[in-house]
């Protein structure tokens, strides 16, 4: 190959790359605000689902603080990754200031479809709402437990309940619960 060919080739690649770079930059400029807005909306929607009373959600170091419209702290939303049956389960759980569960949502999981995957269903997750202490255990594992496991998917159910309990214990340990309880 001649030197000239190489230089011409490099030049052409350079031109094409620059052109496409410019094009992409323009596209990026247009779409970036949209994408960010989408991300924010999505997060807000999820937090709202977990904590319907909340109005403002601010991200703190370890959790998301939930305030009402008078800037009063209502509770916190925690994020936890718990080992499930088929892999890690990413859980977001909201607790009010008294340490009671407000809501639980599953962000990611790889449980068996039709079986463990049922942990994302509201009928299972809503069982946690309003509960605290030993009530968060599965019925199978603790006498005081009140959570019904999904039929045939005890391990997945237990992973969710374990995750929620872990956060609860953490909150307790850090003293983020009002003494009124």
């Amino acid at each position: 190959m001649k030197k000239k060919d190489i230089i011409i080739g490099l030049l052409i690649i350079f031109i094409i790359t620059s052109l496409s770079g410019y094009l992409l930059a323009q596209v990026y400029k247009v779409t970036k605000p949209k994408i960010e807005q989408q991300k924010k909306d999505e997060g807000q929607k999820l937090y709202k689902e977990i904590f319907p009373e909340g109005v403002e959600f601010t991200e703190e170091k370890e959790y998301i603080a939930v305030y009402d419209d008078e800037k009063k702290l209502l509770g916190r939303i925690y994020h936890i990754v718990q080992a499930g049956y088929g892999g890690p389960i990413v859980i977001k759980a909201g607790f009010d200031t008294e340490g009671k569960v407000k809501g639980v949502r599953i962000l990611e999981h790889s449980e068996t479809p039709g079986l463990g995957a049922k942990i994302t269903e509201k009928s299972f997750l809503n069982q946690f709402a309003g509960k605290s202490g030993k009530k968060l255990y599965l019925k199978k594992y603790d006498k005081e437990g009140t959570i019904d496991a999904i039929t045939g998917a005890t391990i997945s159910s237990k992973a969710v309940s374990d995750g929620v309990i872990k956060i609860q214990e953490k909150i307790k340990a850090e003293g983020k619960i009002n003494e009124t309880d």
């Binding site: 068996t112 479809p113 039709g114 079986l115 199978k140 594992y141 039929t151 045939g152 005890t154 391990i155």
Partner: protein, 308 residues
């Protein structure tokens, strides 16, 4: 002119059909045990599986233009083995789908008897397990059909989940009085059938022995009771009747031992570390894929091969 035949002019009396029916006979004691422990449910599942296997055969005859072969009993074997690895409470239509897929998808699609890569019964069971996980993991307690059927966990399930239910005694597990798949529970009667096959020289000791020994060794190292691991789950059924399936296991004695050890390692790993309580079906299917490779590297050294 008469059609000339090539030598030899005499043949042994063994035929494919005889082998297949012998396997059926060997499975009979365990079949009766399953009907005793799980009642008519078991019988219904068995009948549905066998009939659906035949339907699969007939359908593939039309779809693939294949010569409908004579009644050689291989469908009965597949149907029976499939029924053996299903829970007794499975809805009959699911068992039917399983039987049909075992023959149509796993066997005939690959070219019919002698050409399938995977064990039809176990492959069908795996398809059912991933498709209908709930129904495939509900086990009825033995003898409970006399009062009303109770769902309970299998011994391996109890170990895996760490809770609920009381483990049956080893003796109960040996005679088959435990929850589990339809035909896997009665170790005693399965072993009687297996001895029959060994005496008939239909199966050899290589695969079962290497398979079970490997499981024993690994579970002992892991600090669990190896006897429990033999009696619980489908190990005996798998080792004697599934892994020894001619078509899907290596052809040479050396290869058979490698195959058995492979199955044993995977079964133990799934039981000890995996998320499923039982791993016999998956380990046998997994090793099925390696059979051509194993065969390739375990060819016997020909007579008079020059030593290098």
């Amino acid at each position: 002119m008469k059609e000339l035949t090539c030598s030899p002019h005499i043949h042994s009396s063994e035929t494919t059909a005889k082998i297949m029916w012998s396997v059926v006979i060997a499975l009979l004691p365990a079949t009766l045990a399953s009907i005793y422990f799980f009642g008519l449910d078991a019988l219904r599942v068995i009948i549905v599986c066998i009939i659906s296997c035949y339907i699969g055969e007939v359908v593939s005859h039309f779809v693939f233009n294949r010569k409908l072969k004579s009644f050689d009993g291989s469908e009965v074997v597949t149907g029976l083995l499939l029924a053996f690895v299903l829970p007794p409470s499975i809805p009959l239509w699911m068992a039917g789908i399983g039987g049909f897929l075992a023959i149509f998808l796993v066997k005939e699609l690959f070219g019919g008897i002698g050409f399938n890569i995977f064990n039809p019964a176990l492959a069908a069971r795996s398809i059912l397990t991933v498709s209908f996980p709930l129904e495939m993991t509900q086990f009825t307690a033995p003898l409970s059909y006399r009062v009303d059927a109770i769902t309970t966990a299998t011994p391996l399930g109890i170990i895996k989940e760490g809770i609920g239910g009381q483990l049956p005694s080893l003796w109960q597990m040996f005679i088959g009085n435990r929850p589990g798949c339809l035909g896997e529970t009665s170790i005693l009667l399965l072993v009687i059938g297996a001895i029959f096959l060994l005496c008939r020289k239909i199966i050899t000791w290589h695969i079962p022995v290497s398979y079970i020994l490997t499981v024993v060794v690994i579970t002992s190292i892991a600090g669990q009771n190896p006897i429990f691991h033999i009696l619980a789950g489908g190990l005996v059924l798998g080792a004697f009747f599934m892994a020894t399936d001619y078509v899907t296991s290596p052809i040479t004695p050396k290869g058979k031992i490698i195959f058995g050890i492979g199955c044993g390692i995977i079964t133990s790993l799934i039981r000890l570390k995996g998320s499923y309580p039982e791993g016999v079906a998956y380990s046998v299917i997994f090793m099925n894929m390696f059979v051509p490779l194993i065969d390739r590297y375990t060819l016997p050294k020909k007579f008079g091969a020059i030593k290098k």
